[in-house]
């Protein structure tokens, strides 16, 4: 479904990704793990079009998306839940979700999508008129995921969903991600919480200093000594 072929990208004179090749099949959940500064967020920004590709090709469902802008990429069915959630703090919960359905194609199914998101995240249904900035961290993350679902995507990019959340909330969140997956969405997730994320994905890539170091089935990868010592901490 998604294919990154030898992607190189970066900021100014700095190259953050070198020859990165990543594939995600339809219906799969794939994780990209790695230490801070490995280029995980950069990878997400490249896929969603926030950051231009320097070389390599980005193909989604057979369509070449290399060089497309973020506001066009989302129309193809890729929703990006950015690092730090990036909800609109001064807008209400309802307006944030409405923004998720901004695309004409998504607008047509606005009511229906809203109902689905509210069923998935009942906390949001209880407070549609509350300012999003006044939600707790976990609720904001749910809102960010719900907002992404409103665009009726095929692939969801989750960037560090557990960042800054209390341990209890992290468990609940991973549970919710599992449920989102069961709804039939394809997921590409970036996480530092390696132990948890390997439990909910099929495959994982290990990204280090801008290069893919290792890839494999989540269960195998978790067993490998190297990954265990460095990231799982077991």
């Amino acid at each position: 479904m998604l294919e990154l072929n030898r992607i190189t990208s970066g900021y100014g004179a700095f190259t953050a990704l070198w020859d990165v090749t990543v594939r995600v099949e339809a219906g799969e959940a794939v994780a990209v793990v790695g230490p801070n500064g490995a280029g995980k967020t950069t990878l997400m920004r490249v896929i969603s079009g926030l950051l231009p590709v320097r070389s390599g090709r980005l193909v989604f469902e057979g369509r070449d998306l290399t060089g497309e802008k973020a506001y066009d990429v989302v129309a193809h069915g890729i929703a990006h839940v950015p690092e730090g959630r990036r909800i609109f703090p001064a807008l209400t919960v309802g307006d944030n979700l409405k923004m998720g359905a901004f695309l004409p194609a998504a607008r047509k199914h606005y009511r229906e999508s809203l109902e689905r998101v509210y069923t998935l995240f009942p906390v949001l249904a209880e407070r549609p008129t509350q300012r999003a900035g006044s939600l707790s961290g976990g609720e904001q993350q749910m809102l960010a995921v719900g907002r992404a679902l409103m665009s009726r995507p095929k692939l969801i990019l989750l960037d560090e969903p557990s960042m800054g959340l209390a341990p209890v909330m992290v468990l609940r969140l991973f549970d919710l991600i599992r449920r989102v997956r069961e709804e039939g969405y394809t997921i590409l997730v970036v996480e530092q919480n390696v132990r948890q994320v390997l439990k909910i994905v099929d495959r994982a890539y290990l990204l280090e200093v801008g290069r893919i170091r290792m890839e494999g089935r989540a269960s195998e990868l978790a067993e490998q000594d190297f990954v265990r010592k460095a990231y799982v901490g077991a």
Binding site: S48, G49, L50, K69, A70, Y71, D72, V74, A75, A79, H80, P82, R86, I87, F88, P89, A90, L91, D95, K98, M99, G100, A101, F102, L103, A106, R107, R147, S151
Partner: protein, 288 residues
């Protein structure tokens, strides 16, 4: 001792003036809140729209409503033009350059208007009665201007809160990248914002020209006042600008009756300066 009726009349006039001032301030504040650039020349665009009504109605004898609609369309066109020609290229420039650019536009418009139409004060004479309600005299044009201002602001409010594009305009003022991730093109939203801000200028122009004479330096009178209201209400805060407009218009109107017209403005500006010391972010500073 001042006649209480006189005072009441001043209060009513203050409210009526507040409507148009609020409309002007909302237009300027919308653009600032979303694009983060102050259009110093905003009221000079209003002045151009006033001329449009003057020529359409007084010189070429079109219907006043047609002239009004033309003014709104002129406002939209000017908003779009200013955005494309002046704002768009300097979106990521340092703030001082942006101020210089829109400030330069102010001098350009003023000089250009002087060149074209001279410095004569031109008024649009609309034959409308003066109403008398319980001993208070209310000018009908002012009443209409007030009512239409309120309507325009209501329309703006509904646009910003009820429509997808309006919601996106509020969103892009908070997070440009996140708005792009929603599938909305931020640059196009800026253009729409400028067009809407321009429409507000057009409406304000049509409503001002039936009360005041227009001349190339019209912006000199209302420009600083509008800017002051925006700062007082908290730059970028729509609600703040709305309330501040009515506070300022009351001070000017009542102060004008109690002391003298010029002193009304003096008092208003003194209050502004004092408040800037007490609450530098404005009365309703936008929470960040």
């Amino acid at each position: 001792m001042i006649d209480p009726l006189f005072l009441l009349e001043a209060v009513v006039n203050g409210v009526l003036l507040g409507g148009v001032l609020a409309l002007l301030s909302l237009g300027l504040n919308l653009i600032f809140g979303v694009i983060d650039i102050v259009w110093i020349a905003y009221v000079d665009l209003v002045m151009l729209c006033m001329y449009a009504v003057y020529f359409m109605y007084t010189v070429y004898h079109w219907n006043i409503w047609v002239a009004g609609v033309t003014s709104v369309m002129a406002g939209v066109a000017l908003g779009v033009l200013v955005h494309l020609l002046i704002i768009s290229p300097i979106l990521s420039s340092p703030p001082i350059n942006q101020l210089l650019a829109t400030g330069g536009l102010l001098f350009f418009i003023q000089s250009f208007a002087t060149l074209l139409w001279g410095t004569d004060h031109r008024s649009v004479r609309v034959n409308l009665p003066v109403l008398e309600v319980g001993g208070i005299f209310i000018s009908f044009p002012r009443l209409i201007a007030f009512a239409l201002s309120i309507l325009a602001m209501l329309g703006l409010y509904l646009f910003l809160t009820r429509t997808f594009v309006g919601t996106a305009i509020r969103a892009v003022s908070q997070d440009r990248d996140a708005t792009a991730l929603m599938g909305a093109n931020p640059l196009r939203l800026y253009l729409v914002t400028s067009a809407v801000g321009g429409a507000m200028a057009g409406i304000a122009g049509a409503l001002l020209v039936i009360q005041y004479a227009v001349h190339p330096y019209f912006g000199g009178a209302f420009g600083p006042l509008t800017f002051m209201i925006c700062v007082l209400g908290g730059l970028g805060s729509m609600f703040g600008a709305f309330v501040a407009a009515f506070i300022m218009s009351q001070v000017i109107s009542v102060g004008g009756v109690l002391i003298s017209t010029e002193m009304g403005y003096v008092v208003a500006f003194v209050i502004f300066i004092v408040l800037m010391f007490v609450r530098p972010g404005g009365i309703f500073a936008k929470r960040t």
